[in-house]
């Protein structure tokens, strides 16, 4: 079969795999990962030594092991302890756990970058710890963290291709599935690469818009 014809025929299935696989996978694990990251960052900033140790342990473990290995471990550990979990869920859990470790350091730095006076002013109007974080500190910390977190997000789009190895049907997996009967892996992989690239170009553009938006909004 003609290369170009194959590329054309597989375009929609690949885009579809990006739309129902790659993009939701990335979005869901990023949002869940941010929640993990905030909790780990707070643990590392805690007054309680055990929490600080746990936070450091978590970050060190996640950053010190390959994502691919983390994905395999999570995929095999659930059956091992007797829990049935589909590949999709395993993929999301693995990516969440991973993003949580990386974004935790970003968020910890951003929380520390919020001036101490903001904590003190909150204390004088008698806000408690959780309210101070939620209303005063985290909104300012997120603003500081937007540029590095956008980079984390863009990396995650590409890293999500690794869950193809456990059979999650996303962009790369779809390319493999189409290529296998035709043996034309080159065409399909190039096509998949171009689609990843297109998604990242759009995201970089959105990142700039977002940063400008935050720059224009009331600053410190």
């Amino acid at each position: 079969m003609d290369r170009w014809q194959l590329a054309l025929d597989s375009l929609w299935p690949l885009v579809r795999a990006a739309l129902i696989g790659t993009i939701p996978l990335t979005l869901i694990s990023f949002i869940l990962g941010l929640i993990v990251a905030v909790l780990i960052a707070l643990a590392k900033l805690s007054k309680i030594r055990a929490l600080r140790l746990f936070g450091s342990f978590y970050v060190s473990l996640i950053r010190g092991t390959p994502l691919l290995v983390q994905i395999f471990i999570i995929f095999y550990v659930f059956p091992f302890i007797g829990i049935r979990m589909d590949a999709w869920t395993c993929g999301i859990i693995a990516l969440t756990v991973n993003v949580g470790g990386y974004a935790a350091e970003t968020i910890r730095g951003a929380i520390l970058a919020v001036p101490k006076g903001q904590w003190e002013a909150s204390a004088t109007i008698n806000l408690d710890y959780v309210t101070t974080l939620r209303r005063i500190i985290l909104p300012q910390a997120f603003k500081i963290a937007v540029p590095p977190l956008s980079n984390t997000f863009i990396s995650l789009v590409k890293d999500s291709s690794l869950v193809s190895t456990i059979g999650v049907l996303e962009l790369l997996r779809q390319a493999q599935v189409i290529a296998t009967p035709t043996y034309d892996f080159l065409t399909l992989y190039i096509e998949a690469a171009l689609i990843y690239w297109a998604i990242c170009i759009v995201l970089s553009f959105a990142q700039k818009r977002l940063e400008n938006y935050f720059d224009n909004k009331a600053t410190v």
Binding site: G117, A121, T124, N126, L127, R135, I136, P139, Q140, A218
Partner: protein, 263 residues
């Protein structure tokens, strides 16, 4: 009975004994001005009154609340103390991501002890902004305001929780000289309205006009206190005299210059 009573405050930073046994009483409806050289512990003393600083020893009672720092007060105890005080910082520390009105109402709406419905809080917040002369700035962000306006929002924020005692830490020191007056006039107005205030400041003129009690602190202790007439016009202690001389005439002891003029 005193509104505020402080007994035996001691605070050390590392090896640096910053507050070395301070007792202080403040009567309801009075203004106490705290003066003293840089680094003598004024800020530390003021922050100890609402638990922003935790002294090793000492008892602070405001209204019906008592905190004994020697017995490691709980967060709830400190929170009670804070509910009796409002604090105005030198560098205002407004919340940059909230509007002026939200800065004032934040504690009313989200302070766990007295959650108010938003409509009630907004009405109160707006009336406080009117009171500090910023009624038309409710929707602005702090960064849109001048330094003097920002500080007046800081004061409105402190008033919002209707504290028994207002604490001011050098509220005008970071301001351009020509707008210092705005803030001092507002504070004088508050004093006339009967607010009880403790003010750390270098504005001797304000102390003369507004203070009921002037407290001179040096090296972590109260050296002397009394009416402005007593402490500012007829200081008994040499250290007070020396301090006032330097504050009132900062160019006074410049030996080199004196020689130049003489020759």
């Amino acid at each position: 009975m005193s509104l505020l009573s402080v007994r035996g405050i001691h605070k050390t930073f590392g090896k640096n004994q910053v507050i070395r046994g301070i007792d202080l009483d403040i009567e309801p409806g009075t203004v106490t001005v705290i003066i003293g050289p840089s680094g003598c512990g004024k800020t530390t003393l003021l922050r100890s009154l609402n638990g922003l600083e935790s002294p090793e020893k000492g008892v602070v009672s405001i209204d019906s609340v008592q905190v004994n720092y020697a017995e490691k007060p709980t967060a709830a105890d400190v929170s009670l103390l804070r509910s009796k005080t409002g604090f105005v910082f030198q560098a205002h520390h407004l919340f940059p991501h909230r509007t002026v009105l939200q800065n004032v109402t934040e504690g009313l709406i989200y302070g766990p002890s007295l959650k108010r419905p938003a409509s009630e809080a907004n009405a109160l917040g707006q009336s406080l902004l009117d009171q500090v002369g910023l009624g038309d700035k409710a929707k602005a962000y702090p960064s849109d305001l001048s330094g003097g306006q920002q500080q007046r929002v800081g004061i409105a924020r402190a008033l919002a929780l209707q504290p028994k005692l207002l604490l001011f830490d050098e509220p005008t020191s970071a301001l351009d000289p020509e707008i210092v007056g705005d803030v001092l006039q507002l504070m004088r107005k508050l004093a006339r309205e009967g607010w009880t205030m403790a003010v750390v400041t270098h504005e001797i003129q304000f102390a003369k006009q507004v203070a009921n009690n002037v407290v001179f602190v040096d090296q972590g202790v109260i050296v002397e206190q009394g009416t402005p007439q007593e402490v500012l016009a007829n200081p008994r202690h040499p250290r007070t005299r020396e301090f006032l001389r330097r504050v009132l005439d900062p160019l006074a002891d410049d030996a080199e210059y004196a020689e130049e003029v003489a020759s």
